[in-house]
Symmetry: C2
Subunit: 219 residues, 2 copies
C-alpha cells in the first residue's frame, strides 16, 4: 500500500464509503461517519457542503479508483486471443472482482446499491463504470455466436452470463443459507468461474443454433 494521504477530507470519503456501502445513503448517519473518520461533524459541510455532496464525492472516488479490466483486456488480449479465451478470462475476472476483490469491498458494495436503487448522483458513474464492460462482453459474445444472431439475443446472453456471476455476490446470504455452509465453503472462485464458463459456452452455442467460433480453443 503506497503512501496514501491522511487528510481529513480523504478520511471522510473513506469512512463515508464504508458506511454508505453498509447501510445505504438514507440510513447512514453523518455523525457516525465523522466519528469513524475522527473528524468533526462540521467537517462535512466545510469540505463537501452537505451529505449528498459527500456521497457524490464518494462515488467519484470509487470511479477514480477503478482498475480497468476492460482496458487491460483490450490491450493484452483482445486482439491476440480467440474469443473463447477472452470469455473465460472475462468471467474469471468478474467472479474474482465480486468474490475476492483486492480493493476495498465497499467500492463494489456501493456500486451494487446504485445498481439496485439508483440515485441521481450515481447514474453517471454507473454508466461510466459499466458501459465499457457491457460493450466488451457484447463484442466477445458477438464474435462467438456470429452475425445471424439478433442484437436482442446477444443482450439476453450477456444478461445470462452476468446474472450468473452477480448471483454469487448479491444473493450470497441466500445461497449460503440454502446450500448450507458446508457445501458453500467448498466453492472456490476458480470453480465458480469454471462452472459459469462451461455452462455459458454451451448456452451460447444453443441460442446461436450453431457451434461457437474457434470452439477447438475451449478447455
Amino acid at each position: 500500500m503506497v503512501a496514501v494521504q491522511d487528510d481529513t477530507k480523504t478520511r471522510l470519503i473513506e469512512a463515508a464509503g464504508v458506511i454508505f456501502a453498509d447501510k445505504g445513503f438514507d440510513a447512514a448517519g453523518v455523525r457516525e461517519i465523522c466519528q469513524e473518520a475522527k473528524a468533526n461533524v462540521a467537517a462535512v459541510k466545510y469540505y463537501f457542503g452537505d451529505k449528498r455532496k459527500l456521497y457524490k464525492a464518494v462515488l467519484q472516488h470509487v470511479h477514480a479508483c477503478k482498475d480497468n479490466l476492460a482496458l487491460q483486456m483490450a490491450e493484452e488480449q483482445l486482439k491476440t486471443q480467440p474469443p473463447l479465451i477472452q470469455l473465460k478470462f472475462y468471467i474469471l475476472e468478474m467472479v474474482r472482482e465480486h468474490l475476492a476483490s483486492q480493493k476495498p469491498a465497499w467500492h463494489l458494495e456501493i456500486m451494487l446499491w446504485e445498481m439496485t436503487r439508483q440515485t441521481a448522483e450515481g447514474r453517471e458513474v454507473i454508466e461510466l463504470q459499466l458501459r465499457p464492460m457491457a460493450t466488451l462482453l457484447k463484442n466477445i459474445i458477438r464474435r462467438l455466436v456470429g452475425d445471424e444472431v439478433s442484437e436482442e439475443t446477444v443482450w439476453k446472453s450477456g444478461f445470462s452470463i452476468v446474472g450468473q456471476v452477480l448471483f454469487y455476490h448479491v444473493h450470497q446470504a441466500i445461497a449460503r443459507q440454502l446450500a448450507g455452509d458446508a457445501i458453500y465453503e467448498e466453492l472456490t472462485v476458480d470453480q465458480i468461474a469454471e462452472h459459469i464458463y462451461q455452462f455459458s459456452i454451451a448456452g451460447l452455442a444453443a441460442v446461436a443454433k450453431r457451434p461457437l467460433a474457434h470452439e477447438s480453443a475451449a478447455s
Copy 2:
C-alpha cells in the same frame, strides 16, 4: 378482487408493505406509513407494539399470501411430466412472478430486501418461502443430469438458472440503461423465459457431460 377487509390493522400492514418495499426498513417512516393508511401514528403502537413488530407482521402477511408454485407443480405436473417440461414450466413461472406478478409487487420487493440485506425478523420467512422452491428445482436438475454429478454442481447449476432469472428483476434498471429502452421494451416475459430455458438446458447438459434425460421432449 374479493371482499378484503378494511380494518385499520390491515390497512396499516398494506401501506407499510408498500413503503417498506420501496425504501427498506430504516428509511421508511412511521408517519408516512400511517398517512398512507389513513391511520393515526399511535395506531402502530396500539396494533403492533412498535415499528419492528409492524415489519414482522408485514413479513408474515407476505408469507401467508404466497401462492405455492411448488405445491402446484408437485400436484399437477411433478409426477406426470418429464423433467424438461417441468424445468421449462419452473423457469416460465419464476420469470412471470418476477416480471409480471399478479399479486402486489411489494410482496416480492420486500422478499428481495430480505434476500440481499437480511434482518432478524425475515430470516425465517425467507427460509419458509425459498426452501421448497430450491429443493423443487434441485430435484428437477438432478433428474436431468443424472446421479454421477456432484451435489455441489447441482447447486451451482441451480444458482446459474436462478441467477439468470433474478437478474431481470434485481438489475432491471441497469439492464434498461445499458441495452436501451428501445431494445428492452421488445423483451416479453415469454421470450425471456424461453431464452433462459434454452440457455440453461444446454448449460446443464454441458456440466453433466452427457445428454439430458428425455432430451427428446425438448421443444
